[in-house]
Amino acid sequence: MTQAEQILKKADRLRRELPRNFRDEMVQSLYDEAERIARRAVQEREGRSYDLDQKIDRIVTSPIFGLPIMLLLLALVIWITVIGANYPSEWLANGLFWFENQAATLFERWGAPWWLTGFLWHGVYRGLAWVVSVMLPPMAIFFPLFTFLEDLGYLPRVAFNMDWLFKKAGAHGKQSLTMAMGFGCNAAGVVATRIIDSPRERLIAILTNNFVPCNGRFPTLIMLGTIFVAANFPPALTSFVAAGSVVAIVMIGVFFTLLISWLLSRTVLKGEASAFTLELPPYRRPNLGRILYTSLIDRTIFVLWRAITTAAPAGAVIWLLANISVGGVSLAQHIAGFLDPLGWLIGLDGVILLAYIIAIPANEIVVPTMLMVYLGTGMMIDLPWDQLGVILVEQHGWTLLTAINLMLFALLHNPCATTILTIYKETGSKKWATFSVVITLGTAFLVTFLTASLARAFGWV
């Protein structure tokens, strides 16, 4: 018997002689020692900030004001993001597309073949430019605001307020924070689940984060809510109805988050390890430098870079599908025709499905891709909203059902490639990454199929 074996054997024998809860005693003695040192080394000042902390806590977690304050702050952050991102997005788009035209003209002057110019500038570059101009401004506004609340110490109080609801769904209160982060970007939301230290609840938060619509999907939802849902109401109410429909979609997303969390915790994840702890740290003065650093470098640039690496190939594929023709019809049209029956089944059409398939890398380019196929242009395009509504309804048979189902589909469908990749990296498992796609896509098809069938059965469409 080697020495190591002897030692192991002895340890095994000794372990059985230990009292039942010797770990308790070890921890107790550690704490006693730490307390003794702290008493000797730390002088406690009659703390005023401690009282202030308590006062703030009583307000923000109070049974009466706690939830309203929280909802108000969330609405405020989203409102600032949506409004504030409008103009910078437009400027960025103008600038980036101006550059595209200049470059393409230059290529033509040099006598480059049309397909090279198209592929490089109207394909790869255009995809990139689109994603950057739609994605960057909202993220650059949302993340600093969110990080500000985080740095302040307010966010754990939100988890504290909401935990009861998440407990009912078998999840962790901190999931409310990762969901809020998901409004900025689902990939960032998935990364943020690291704050949940219990393995089962963390997996739940990762797999359901996509049910919160991110910045990339918000513009689509707002567009649909404005030109289709609100158009059915008197003009005085339009902006109100548009906002209401987007809020309703978000609420549906929250409902599905809780529902799927509940199902997961009772089926697939039943045996995963679980524990609940939540510390409410003291409030502190936000550090502006740190806020800007974490929100812009750690979050915005990180997410943007991942999006760019997936958007460039997507731009290339989109351009190729629109410009390679078989029998006088582009590949995109062929595929859209093939997908049409499936699209009809869920109240959409083949073009929309195709746009979702090739725009997996980034949700921002779904609508431009859709328009490209509808209008038969060779590249992704955008239109003013008033023209958009007319074209979709009169030439492509869109109804209220199409718009509502598209909103639902945009909310529930599979995560974008960046998020899937992030889920794979965070869980270290292809199984969970695949599973996240299966449950979201399954939910999306099921829900839209049900609404379409119901609407048709009642003869509303």
Partner: protein
Amino acid sequence: MTSWLFFFLLLALLAAPRVGLYALWQARRAERAREQVEDALKYLLDHEQAGLHVTTAALAGALRLSPARAARLADRMAAQGLLEFRGPALHLTPDGERWAMDVLRAHRLWERYLADEARMPLEKIHREAHRREHTLTAEQLDALDAALGYPQFDPHGDPIPRPGRPPAERGQPATSWPPDTAGRIIHLEDEPPLAYQQILAAGLQLGQIVRVLERTPERLVLSDGQNEYRLAPAVAANIFLAPAHDARPLPAGVQPLHLLPHGQPAEIVAIDERIQGFTRRRFLDLGLTPGTRIVPALENFFREPRAYRVRGTLIALRNDQAAHILVRPLNAEEASDE
């Protein structure tokens, strides 16, 4: 052309290696066979330890097989050298016994895991552990054992067998325990389930220190100093006790933390013995050790979780967790100390 495409897709779905339907069916069949053999081994081990003989007919009844299938299973196991026939009775060979011990070990380790790490209710863990006990390789089993910190008992107090280690004591049933002697509950038999559920419903738990107050043919009364537990003798026979030398009675006025009124300072007395593993480690990490002062400091709209001030920090606990922390409320004089 489309119909050919569908034909090939269908073919792939059926015949693909590893993920095709046929391959899945084959794998499932192999699993079923292993489950059957292992269940039979466990059944034999259980009865041999109790000094009972098992016939093929009894095996058929226990595994819910037809007599012919049970006979085939026994023949197959005999051919594998796991059991031998002695007249009508079946006996485990040393190989069979070793394998059976491994299955038992897997079952009890899984119960430990499900109770401690997955926080599954005690009455549900037996079924889930039964489902999982057949899925591990020997290496995975060792890894699970190590990850759990080599526990000695499962959550019902049954010893976890390990290769080359004598089985630990099992205690004495409460029905034959001497009256007025303190005993620690070291085992709660989980079969039959009905009796086990009654024991849990009465509020008795592993590690509790009790005395037998009264014993008649109709009932048995146990007391832990605060509550009395009345049980039918048939149920009480499933409670096993061992001498409690280090028994410390809980001081008067102790209550679970979640019932402590808002703002009432208290001192932590103990953490419930039932709470082991992950959850207990978390409690300890947060500094919730006996002797620590704690005050319920925040309540929200839903009244759950509640936040407690302890060691200068605020920690939120759900009520089902706080219920496992026993505290003694401090009176005004004690509270103003420090």
